[in-house]
Symmetry: C2
Subunit: 358 residues, 2 copies
């Protein structure tokens, strides 16, 4: 892990941000030409997208491209940036489905539009306006992602290789999201089901497919490289999701941008909860029902559940699993099919994805 | 309008349906391979898409293709069919935003999943499950539309011509949808604003852009043809929307699949309502507030508002406007840039779009 790699990632990230800024500025002009009533739409998306975000998916796509020995220029950077618009759709819709009030320390999109409705004393029911705006802004981000990808300046040959991966990734994302909301309706927890959700929502969507898309941008990609990138990306993606599960329970609000223990308040059935559940006594399980998934769960209640997750050994079990998955990913970095120049970047990204220290 | 054209449209519509059926059957297999928990997703979308629908957008796309002198084969038919998946996304999300209980005489998607939740005695809050399912199924339809279009077998040259139109159409759709929900929050009605919404939601999305996409599938399309198709499609699309506004107030529930006067109950501010409002006395406006937009509006209340819309002359005004717009569209059919073979089809589709007799 060299400081040279770190500064390369910082530099490439600022290129993504500059492309996203340019694209959004053009689209803002386009919407304003239709009607000035669309100004809140482009403003909200621009703030949401440009003021924060780690650009993880474009960065993994970049690493995939390097793995295939690609030399980047502007069209590839634009194509990779489009993943950030897709992610904006996923987050906006996710917050709506979860009823989350905040995202990255700011009001979520449906809450933001709900507030605009109240502030401007508009007619009708503010939460319904918030819901509608979040549905449409998410849809628009999904469409803009395509538009940025399609108009990025990639060659027809590149598009032909990349688009099928992009389409499949998006189907996998929606499938993973549905399995996740379905999981929240089940009477029991199940580690195998939670693992599958982690694989689809994160293993594939966040890491494996962005890597594949990046590799497919280069004409030097091969089935062997794609396989090696899966060997790296799938375990790492699962580790990433499990780290997220831990952060949802134990994370520092100033880092996560969400209230402490938010996943506990929401009653989110993650792999961590499935592990805890499997290790609980009946008495503990009974006790946990008083707190888990309660909207008004206070600090004390959060602490009781945290203690249960620690004392059963579930936290340690998941941390060990994260370590094991990370080791497996790191072993794959040494595949002879991965271009040497990509190894430092893949290593650096592994640290970012599993420790969230960026 | 010959019976030959009618039977051609019926034949082409059944080709669309067959392509959609094949695509959904493949996708159902794909989802089931991920998890059997996804079965309700593919079943609900298949029922929604295959059991009803006029296939208007694919048909207009077909007419655009004929206008450019195109000879169709399977890839073009598949590409046109994809518009029906996009429309499924628009309807699923629209029903969620409007809080509509029914679509085409059946429960809307969010209500359907809400019922599944209750019926299977799942954990959690049924309406939130319904909301989440509708968000994700709509998203999935949007992605599947792209996947069907991208994998239709079109040449790279065709895709390069079609995709920019497709992307712009989808941005226009989302812009029109946002303007529509925003309109419902305004303190006053405004005919110019309602007209703009009709232009974006219907003129462009339902008719002009599908025509353009169809024309762009042929290598013989030209800017002059695109212009002629706009001269036909934009007024016709507005006429289509205004017919829809009339049906929302005066339509027969057995035809519309929605309860009588549903738009009145919902308080939907359409061009028809803006026209009525402009023609009302202050006393009538005061009286209308007792009924318009009331959830529990009964038959008597619907009849009072209908009478107001008739007696002010707004209904006649809008019917005259529909006629004028339809005439304008029909004049454009005779443009020398439109291939002769397309004229009967365009004429037939005009009748379907403005009279809804199909």
């Amino acid at each position: 892990m060299t400081s040279g790699t770190q500064s390369q990632l910082v530099a490439i990230r600022s290129k993504f941000e500059s492309e996203l800024g340019d694209f959004l500025s053009t689209q803002t002009g386009y919407l304003n030409a239709i009607s000035s009533d669309l100004a809140p739409v482009s403003t909200a998306i621009s703030v949401f997208l440009l003021e924060s975000g780690k650009r993880l998916r474009p960065l993994f796509s970049f690493a995939g491209f390097l793995s295939a020995g690609g030399n980047f220029s502007s069209p590839e950077i634009r194509a990779m940036s489009s993943l950030e618009l897709l992610q904006a759709c996923a987050l906006i819709h996710d917050d709506l489905m979860d009823g989350s009030d905040t995202r990255r320390g700011k009001p979520s999109i449906h809450r933001h539009f709900e507030s605009l409705h109240i502030q401007d004393e508009l007619e009708g029911f503010a939460p319904q306006y918030g819901l509608s705006a979040a549905v449409l802004l998410g849809d628009l981000c999904l469409v803009w992602a395509d538009q940025l990808l399609n108009s990025s300046g990639l060659s027809q040959a590149q598009l032909k290789r990349v688009i099928p991966i992009y389409d499949e990734m998006r189907v996998e994302l929606m499938a993973g999201q549905f399995l996740d909301i379905h999981e929240q309706t089940q009477k029991n927890t199940d580690l195998a089901r939670s693992m599958k959700i982690a694989r689809y929502k994160s293993g594939k969507y966040t890491i494996e497919r962005p890597l594949h898309m990046g590799a497919a941008l280069s004409e030097k990609s091969s089935p062997e490289l794609m396989h090696a990138l899966s060997e790296y990306g799938l375990p790492l993606g699962e580790a990433f999701q499990f780290r997220d599960d831990l952060l949802g329970v134990f994370g520092d609000p100033t880092v996560t941008g969400k209230p402490a223990g938010d996943d506990l308040r929401e009653g989110k059935r993650t792999a961590l909860i499935a592990m805890t559940d499997a290790r609980c006594t009946d008495a503990m399980r009974e006790e946990s029902r008083k707190y888990f998934g309660k909207n008004d769960l206070d600090e004390k209640g959060v602490a009781i559940l945290q203690e249960m997750i620690i004392s059963t050994g579930a936290k340690t079990e998941l941390e060990n699993l994260i370590e094991e998955l990370t080791d497996r990913a790191m072993n794959a970095v040494n595949s002879p099919h991965i271009n040497e120049d990509a190894r430092a970047t893949l290593t650096e990204l592994t640290a970012i994805a599993t420790k969230r220290s960026m």
